[in-house]
Symmetry: C2
Subunit: 288 residues, 2 copies
Amino acid sequence: MTATPAKPAKLLPPNPTIGVFDSGFGGLTVLRDLLPLIPGARYIYLGDTARLPYGSKSRETIARYAVSSAKFLHEQGAELLVIACNTATALAFDDIRRSLPIPVIGVVEPGAQAALSSSTPYSLLPTPCSHVLVLATTATVQSHAYTHALNTLNLEAYEKACPLLVPLVEEGWINHPVTDEVLNIYLTEALTAAPSTQTLLLGCTHYPLLEPAIRRTLAALNHPLTIIDSAQATAQAVALHLNQQPTTTNHRPQMTFYATDSIEKFERLGSAFLGQPVTGVRHVDLGG
Amino acid sequence: MTATPAKPAKLLPPNPTIGVFDSGFGGLTVLRDLLPLIPGARYIYLGDTARLPYGSKSRETIARYAVSSAKFLHEQGAELLVIACNTATALAFDDIRRSLPIPVIGVVEPGAQAALSSSTPYSLLPTPCSHVLVLATTATVQSHAYTHALNTLNLEAYEKACPLLVPLVEEGWINHPVTDEVLNIYLTEALTAAPSTQTLLLGCTHYPLLEPAIRRTLAALNHPLTIIDSAQATAQAVALHLNQQPTTTNHRPQMTFYATDSIEKFERLGSAFLGQPVTGVRHVDLGG
């Protein structure tokens, strides 16, 4: 599902225009991780906030929304597209790739690859039957995209839908007893069903903001796990695709932001995800 | 905002086609209360599930979605429209009324009227400065539609945004310790800010499903309140508009359901809101 992009990287200029898209704000965690790795690129970010969330909707609706968002970024000049949304990658990667004549990179395969690396730190061969617990939205879990990607790498997957985590993050309850209790319920259920899990993959770009709470909950459950953030893994996959070397340049990346709903809300909430102020957001109407 | 509908009721047939619309499933609580009051009508219900939730989005986006939903129901033959969604009523009532040549009834004014009746049980005059606490979505609270409607009736309003309640209902955690804890937080904050509240208005059609949990929480806080459900008040306002008398007929109402996202999910979740099986749902694409 997240196989080789359609066009080889050598056709891209050294500092291409990279389109990054998500249903909302979560994809800004991928952009945040891209900035230090590829500082010379120009970035165009689209948050499809008028139609979020994708994670509770059907495959057909998600694919329609995702393809129109991807086409918009291509029209704005994107030479490479990053689907910085687990749900859109899981449900619409092939639709998006077929719709665009540029390379497309999603978050599922990099996340699975990072889980493999974490499972085999001392060996080039995967440990048979290593178990990975994937926390994700309902739509991502129902697609079983992570199960397919992990099984291909000889890893076992257990996927757990966590529909309350995105609303809790958006309520700002990042470090809050209610969030700890919800995480305790979700993780207890998951670890009871898959007790031999060693690795936890955060399969939604909102979840990295909950990493401290997740670590706290796992410690309370006496079940520490290696946590994989697919945002970081995806940024590294993009850098690898562009043959970018780590750099210490002070180049200030060019960023343009678009949102399909309120600009003010995007600027206010987006800053927490990007880790720096989000300003100059432009509104775009993609229908609906 | 929810003033006299555009056309007088006398132009309507005795058993009209009533369009009922909500962003999702919550409006089915209004339909549930309409069925016994106006059993001879034909009902067409639209859940705009591909674009939900409305409650976290901007006025412009909500108005665009609500007007296209309302027009669809009119095209299907609706002779009277019930906006069974607090957010759409609060943000887009005037836009919808201007767009349609049929009477339009929203949920805000009937809810406010019911709060007035509850505040003045032994008098025809409102008690000065009776306080009503309104729980609603972020968009509804930001519109201050309930404050305007209640102030017009000489009632004081305190509005509290409760963004986690809809996700909790949709997770199925109707009677759950996490929901009780979230309600405890929201209600404690609201009652600290507005301690003289006597009446609680449920300003979102999802919230009636939480009424037992809300009563439990209020009892634990030692602050019992009269609870007003705007779904029931709206159904009564529609019956009044049609000059319908209470009836004990066994007539089985005709109902047609449309959803803009998954039919299967609508049938599964909708039944809990309607209180009877929801079947034969048809899909409609309203863009987006």
